[in-house]
């Protein structure tokens, strides 16, 4: 049973506040991802958990056990490094056995556990190979086997896929996720790739400049971004600024870009300013004479540019006051719209999210 509790943890490097008063509760068996742009402090936080970076203040616990005061080699975490950190002077088997030897496991047991760990990552026949004879993806698997074989309380991964090519990344992330679920181990995963984070996490913490912006499931973070920063960081979005006009049934009517939008009711009084996010893929083109589903909002925009990407067509359009509106159409059976054409678009008001101003 290893839940990880991070309580008010901070760390500054000179004038840079790398991690600023972060508190997190990571549940037992959870796949938890730290996500954020470069330099936001993800690695620093992960290294604090592993014991490679001192805390200025705060406490970290595994279950009820306080671990931030323990030496790094006593914490029983399994870390997978970005550059793999496979010992070049040891072969694959000895790399995997390294942590077991340190734990003085009986020799016979070591051989057995190494074999089953390598089997787990599909490298059964590679025990006698040398690291320089392996490909990047294989090295990554060795690193994972080496971290898992010691049966760590928590698995820590710092951008483990960033050195692999695009296709392998997708493959490996699936494997990592599957492995984590079958072992039921708590995993903390660092990445700056939002797609990767969405694909494999139970929950995600989005970080910015050493602080937490939002913690939640991939769904809620994507659809209900808590701040404009998160809304933008989680993928292309239309972040529109406008003014609340009033209520209309269950909806709020907002004017932005000289257009009236309907959104789900929020606690903002008429007359006040509002920022809301409308994902490009939430917009649908209405054919001539086609009626929108009941209760949906309808707007018009003029196409400025259209990009055909195969599965997707990306359109940049203008609202009447020239505010830009991005639209993503999933292979609809219409022709790619031409520049200058006016489109009728509809959207489900529930797809509009109102991040808090920060």
């Amino acid at each position: 049973m290893t839940a990880v509790a991070i309580e008010g943890v901070s760390r500054a490097f000179g004038a840079v506040q790398a991690v600023a008063a972060i508190s997190l509760d990571i549940r037992d068996g959870e796949f938890f991802t730290l996500l954020g742009p470069s330099g936001c402090g993800k690695t620093t936080l992960l290294r604090m958990i592993a014991g490679f970076c001192e805390l200025d203040c705060g406490v970290i616990r595994f279950g009820d056990k306080r671990i931030d005061t323990l030496a790094a080699h006593r914490r029983n975490t399994g870390m997978v490094f970005q550059n793999y950190a496979i010992f070049p002077n040891l072969n694959v088997g000895a790399n995997v056995a390294y942590g077991l030897r340190a734990r003085k496991v009986a020799t016979a047991r070591i051989a057995e556990r190494v074999r089953s760990a390598l089997k787990l990552v599909h490298l059964e026949d590679y025990e006698a190979r040398w690291p320089h004879q392996l490909s990047g993806g294989q090295l990554q698997r060795v690193a994972i086997a080496r971290a898992l074989v010691i049966e760590p309380e928590v698995l820590l991964l710092d951008e483990p896929l960033s050195n692999l090519d695009a296709q392998l990344r997708v493959e490996m992330r699936g494997e990592i996720r599957q492995l984590q679920q079958s072992l039921g181990i708590t995993a903390i995963y660092v990445t700056h790739d939002q797609e990767e984070a969405l694909a494999i996490s139970d929950r995600i913490a989005v970080m910015r400049a050493g602080r937490l912006e939002q913690v939640g499931t991939p769904d809620s973070i994507y659809r209900n971004s808590a701040t404009p920063f998160v809304a933008q960081f989680m993928g292309i979005t239309n972040l529109l600024e406008g003014k609340v006009l009033g209520h209309e049934g269950a909806h709020l009517v907002v004017e932005a870009g000289a257009t009236r939008f309907r959104i789900e009711s929020v606690a903002i009084a008429p007359g006040e300013a509002i920022t809301f996010s409308l994902r490009p893929e939430a917009l649908r083109v209405l054919g001539a004479g086609e009626a929108p589903p009941p209760d949906w909002g309808v707007i018009e925009a003029q196409v400025a540019r259209a990009e055909f990407l195969g599965t997707l067509t990306r359109i940049e359009a203008h609202l009447p006051d020239a505010t830009m509106l991005r639209i993503a159409l999933l292979d609809q059976t219409i022709e790619t719209p031409a520049a200058g054409q006016t489109l009728s678009l509809c959207y489900d008001p529930r797809r509009v999210s109102v991040p808090e101003r920060s």
């Binding site: 592993a50 014991g51 490679f52 970076c53 001192e54 030496a71 790094a72 080699h73 006593r74 914490r75 029983n76 975490t77 399994g78 870390m79 490094f81 970005q82 550059n83 950190a85 010992f87 070049p88 002077n89 390294y98 942590g99 340190a102 734990r103 690193a143 080496r146 971290a147 010691i150």
Partner: protein, 550 residues
């Protein structure tokens, strides 16, 4: 105060390193300083020693001579070596691999033996001199400044050559191309872009040359004759034929240390403001040359390399010739060696024994220090770094004097055995050991160590089980080089040896004052043998580390 990961190991190494160097390096050197401020009874503070030395034309001359020879030798060495570095890096030369291999030898061959070889060949009773005289050709003197500077240039040029070569190879060729693209000729690009980029590397090599010339004891001792030189006069004052004079010797020691320290500081300030590494992925391409220029460049490099090795070669040849007294007979014989070994095998055994212990000691002390100052950057490890680099700027003569003053009496008596010699060697070689291990560590990714600690191995055990094996090639290479340079150490050895603890260098030193030329040649050959063979054995290792161990 909070301590981070691996604090126990780091603190142990730091504390032990500071204690060791404090006791066996800083304290003795401090005692030299304080001796220079004490009167002859050793109880009263006085500036009398300084007044006496600084008012003496002789000792002022020694200062001026040392600095002047240092400047001349440094300038000459740089002017000779920098073009060779460029040629090796950028020009098509014949026999480049052999050139590179041979050009590191002077660095490990004892300069003192080189000076001695010159004396055997061109000295007043030298073989070449006598031959020329017999033919009626007059021959000038190699004693004094010209001879000393010549020996320095021929033995120290690799100090400039190696960093400059690395520098020229690291220049990103695209900056030269950019310069030519902007309209500069090839020559102009070289002058305005390439050379300035490499300048810091050249200057850091020049600094090593200057410091070496200032503290060198053997070369001036052999070749200076009546010309006073700081390191030699400090020794003479301290050993004192009539009476010993630690106070005045201390003053000369202080002057010596102050000069080297000043140079190091000036160079640090200059280089601190300049960092031009361009980080080329591949070496720049060779510049095509016409046959004539190619032959010229090849001849230049080979002349320099051969000139630096010929004296050593000559000594070996001479050692197999027969001497009757000082007179050479052109018969091949082993008499010199027979005489050497009949007298005693002790000097050879001593040299092997002492250098081996010194190499082990310097590695045991220097490698952990190098590790700590590279991997854990704190204020206290920065201090350790400075203290462990300082012996480099302190002449062996000064350290030797300090050790005698300190450990001759009092609560810790060490003089009069092998231990103090080993201590002196370890202290003198520690900067080298620290620097090489730090250079090797820069090639080892720190995340390997973190992975090991993360898997449950303590930092100290990680160092022993993972880092040391990974560094092993470099550590062994560094130990061989320490071994070699300890075997040819002279300046502190002549002060600290006693009774039966003569080394090969001491035998040569004494042979200089008597007339045993044949014996000295045989001793020198032994020393050369014990230098060249180990270096040849680890040459591949040196290439792997791109000579950064030197």
């Amino acid at each position: 105060m909070k301590f981070g990961a691996g604090a126990g190991f780091r603190i142990t190494v730091t504390v032990f390193g500071l204690l060791f160097l404090g006791l066996f390096f800083l304290y003795p050197v401090l005692r030299v300083f304080s001796a220079s401020f004490l009167d002859s009874s050793g109880a009263q503070l006085t500036l009398h020693n300084y007044a006496k030395v600084l008012s003496s034309a002789f000792y002022l001359d020694s200062m001026v001579n040392s600095l002047w020879i240092g400047v001349l030798a440094t300038v000459a060495t740089t002017l000779v070596a920098a073009p060779m570095a460029f040629a090796l890096a950028r020009l098509p030369l014949a026999g480049k691999t052999a050139l590179m291999a041979l050009s590191i030898l002077p660095l490990v061959l004892p300069s003192f033996v080189g000076a001695y070889a010159l004396l055997l060949l061109f000295g007043r009773a030298g073989i070449v001199t006598s031959g020329l005289h017999a033919l009626g050709i007059p021959f000038g003197s190699i004693y004094g400044t010209p001879g000393i500077v010549l020996v320095y240039v021929l033995t120290l040029y690799p100090f400039v050559l190696l960093p400059a070569l690395a520098g020229f190879k690291a220049v990103d060729v695209s900056v030269e191309e950019a310069s030519q693209n902007l309209g500069a000729s090839r020559w102009r690009s070289l002058r305005t872009v390439t050379v300035p980029i490499v300048m810091p590397a050249i200057l850091s090599g020049a600094l090593l040359v200057f410091i070496d010339t200032l503290e060198n004891f053997g070369v001036p001792f052999v070749l200076a004759e009546d010309m006073p030189i700081l390191a030699v006069e400090a020794y003479k004052l301290f050993v004192g034929e009539t009476d010993t004079n630690p106070g005045s010797a201390g003053v000369l020691g202080v002057l010596l240390v102050a000069s080297t320290a000043a140079v190091v500081m000036i160079q640090r300030r200059y280089l601190g403001r300049r960092r031009f590494a361009t980080g080329a992925r591949r070496s720049p391409p060779l510049i095509p040359l016409s046959r004539g220029f190619r032959a010229l460049a090849t001849a230049y490099c080979w002349t320099l390399v051969l000139a630096s090795l010929v004296p050593f070669f000559a000594v070996i040849v001479i050692s197999f010739l027969e001497f009757r007294g000082p007179v050479l007979h052109w018969h091949v014989s082993l008499d010199n060696y027979v005489e050497l070994f009949e007298r005693s095998l002790r000097p050879l055994q001593n040299t092997l024994f002492l250098s081996t212990l010194a190499a082990l000691g310097a590695a045991l002390l220097g490698v952990p220090i190098g590790y700590v100052v590279t991997r854990a950057r704190t204020r206290i490890t920065a201090l350790l770094d400075i203290v462990a680099t300082m012996p480099f700027a302190v002449a062996g003569t000064v350290l030797g004097i300090g050790m005698i003053i300190t450990f001759n009496s009092g609560w810790l008596v060490l003089t009069g055995g092998w231990f103090i010699l080993v201590l002196a060697y370890v202290v003198r070689k520690v900067p080298f050991s620290v620097r090489t291990s730090s250079a090797i560590l820069h090639q080892i990714d720190p995340s390997l160590e973190e992975a090991s600690i993360n898997l449950g191995v303590s930092p100290a055990m990680t160092f022993l089980r993972l880092t040391v094996p990974l560094m092993l090639g470099g550590i062994v290479g560094g130990m061989v080089l320490t071994w070699v340079s300890a075997a040819s150490e002279l300046s502190s050895t002549v002060l600290l040896y006693s009774g039966q603890w003569q080394t090969l260098t001491v035998v040569m030193f004494q042979a200089l004052e008597s007339t045993g030329a044949g014996l000295a040649a045989a001793t020198a050959s032994l020393l050369i043998f014990f230098t060249v063979v180990p270096i040849a054995l680890i040459y591949r290792l040196l290439r792997r580390y791109e000579m950064s161990l030197l």
